[in-house]
């Protein structure tokens, strides 16, 4: 039975979650306004370049999510508590979602600029494969008989996937392709961006990061609730 303290804690997470949701929603609206009304039109690419503020942050946040997966996976083997497994599992779900956005927005951007939706450029190919790796992560979880096995196997994949995450992050530099290299984030050249563009981009990235934190947190809570329901069901039988 839930104690008074647990109830109070639950209502606190509820209020904090709602508060964060409102903040993220407002920031996303401001972000949209900045992207479409305030940001300067890029000289070479024109209006279509505005997709940059959506495409790059979602890819970067996807990489961030997969780094969280690696942390959660190592944490699970270290502490062996469901908390770490929930963190890794939720981060995969959210990360795959952000990578999907990055892939689709990339295709929409590529059509007018490169003249094709998709090309087998190293950056595109490896990003797509990384997306598949984490899709398989979710499949393995669904196809094993027990919860303990799901946690262990998926943690192994979460750890094995991390070197690939680093490789894909630097793929455009490692293999010269058509996709431009890293212009922002760790390992990027400085001064690659115009000041106003860089300002809007930073705002967009911060917004996406906050959105990621919100979604991750909510997924963790949902998984926790699912486990509680399962426990209760088992105790009734």
């Amino acid at each position: 039975m839930a104690s008074a303290q647990q109830v109070r804690q639950r209502s606190f997470t509820g209020v904090a979650g709602l508060g964060l949701l409102v903040i993220v929603a407002i920031l996303l609206l401001v972000d949209l306004a900045l992207i479409f009304l305030w940001a300067p039109t890029e000289l070479v690419l024109g209006e279509v370049q505005r997709i940059f503020y959506l495409h790059v942050p979602s890819a970067l946040v996807g990489f961030m999510a997969f780094a969280v997966v690696a942390v959660g996976s190592v944490g699970y083997f270290w502490k062996r508590t469901a908390k770490w497994d929930r963190l890794a599992h939720s981060a995969v779900e959210v990360g795959v979602m952000f990578f999907t956005v990055a892939l689709i927005s990339g295709a929409i951007w590529a059509k007018p600029v490169w003249g094709t939706w998709w090309t087998w450029d190293p950056q595109l190919t490896t990003t797509f494969v990384l997306w598949v790796v984490y899709l398989v992560y979710l499949m393995v979880r669904a196809y094993v008989p027990s919860k303990d096995q799901a946690a262990r196997y998926s943690a192994v994949i979460g750890i094995m996937g991390f070197p690939l995450v680093l490789l894909v992050y630097r793929a455009a530099e490692l293999w010269a392709g058509i996709h431009p290299g890293t212009v922002v984030g760790p390992g990027a050249e400085s001064d690659a961006l115009d000041k106003d563009i860089s300002l809007v981009f930073t705002f967009s990235l911060a917004t996406f990061t906050l959105l990621f934190v919100y979604l991750l947190w909510q997924r963790v809570l949902v998984h926790k609730a699912e486990e509680t329901v399962e426990e209760l069901r088992a105790s009734i039988k």
């Binding site: 083997f77 499949m139 393995v140 094995m160």
Partner: protein, 224 residues
């Protein structure tokens, strides 16, 4: 350390002996790889000009799919006969089991790769006896076996395990396939280290990282 290698070699010898008596894996995988090559000869017009373009691709598609077939067997045997429990209960460290299994898988892959060399040489006239191609083949097989052995142990415990292994293995092994195909292209064209050095380096880095990571995580796969 000595106990580790003694354990690993014992597991390795067991797998080799099993294979030497049955010859099941080598024969099935070799014939399968051969069939993959034949399908390619129908899919593409095998004229010398197209072969120069698609040759490296044919080699690595046949090695990769043959490899998956071989990997499926690494643990399915143990699982079906119930000997996996025996292996886990044996007084060996888990990473010694991994190392033994890894060496077994690698040996199997290398044997099949060797058996396939004359096929590429006679049917397609590809210059597969070049030194750098053999180095790349060895390094790529090592990478395949490193991740494949670990994923094979995961796949046997899932439902629909025959499908699960390729799903796990192929995306993870993609850097190896990319590097192997690109390096083979250079090697078959007679180019040296200056051209293919980056691919060899990538393969070495991949092998090293994934042998270490797989050894470390293997014990979490086997524990019941």
């Amino acid at each position: 350390m000595r106990a580790y290698w003694r354990g690993a070699l014992a597991v390795y010898r067991k797998d080799l002996l099993l294979e030497a008596r049955s010859k099941e894996a080598v024969s099935t995988v070799a014939v399968f790889s051969l069939l993959v090559v034949f399908i390619f000869s129908f899919a593409f017009d095998p004229s010398p000009r197209t072969l120069a373009l698609v040759g490296p691709g044919i080699i690595w598609v046949s090695y990769t799919f043959g490899g998956i077939l071989g990997l499926n067997r690494a643990f399915s045997h143990e699982k079906d006969k119930g000997t996996l429990e025996g292996l886990v209960l044996a007084p060996l460290s888990k990473d010694a089991i991994y190392m033994g299994k890894f060496m077994g898988t690698l040996t199997l892959m290398l044997i099949v790769e060797l058996l396939m060399l004359p096929v590429f040489l006679f049917f397609f006239d590809l210059n597969v006896l070049s030194f750098w191609f053999l180095v790349i083949a060895l390094l790529a097989a090592t990478g395949f076996a490193a991740v494949g052995t670990l994923f094979s142990a995961i796949a046997v415990n899932t439902r629909s395990r025959e499908v699960m292994l390729p799903l796990l293995f192929l995306p993870m092994a993609l850097p190896v396939v990319i590097a192997a195909v690109a390096g083979t292209e250079d090697a078959l064209a007679g180019r040296g280290w200056a051209a293919l050095g980056q691919w060899v380096q990538l393969l070495i880095a991949y092998d090293f990282i994934f042998i270490v990571l797989s050894s470390l995580t293997f014990e979490f796969v086997l524990e019941e």
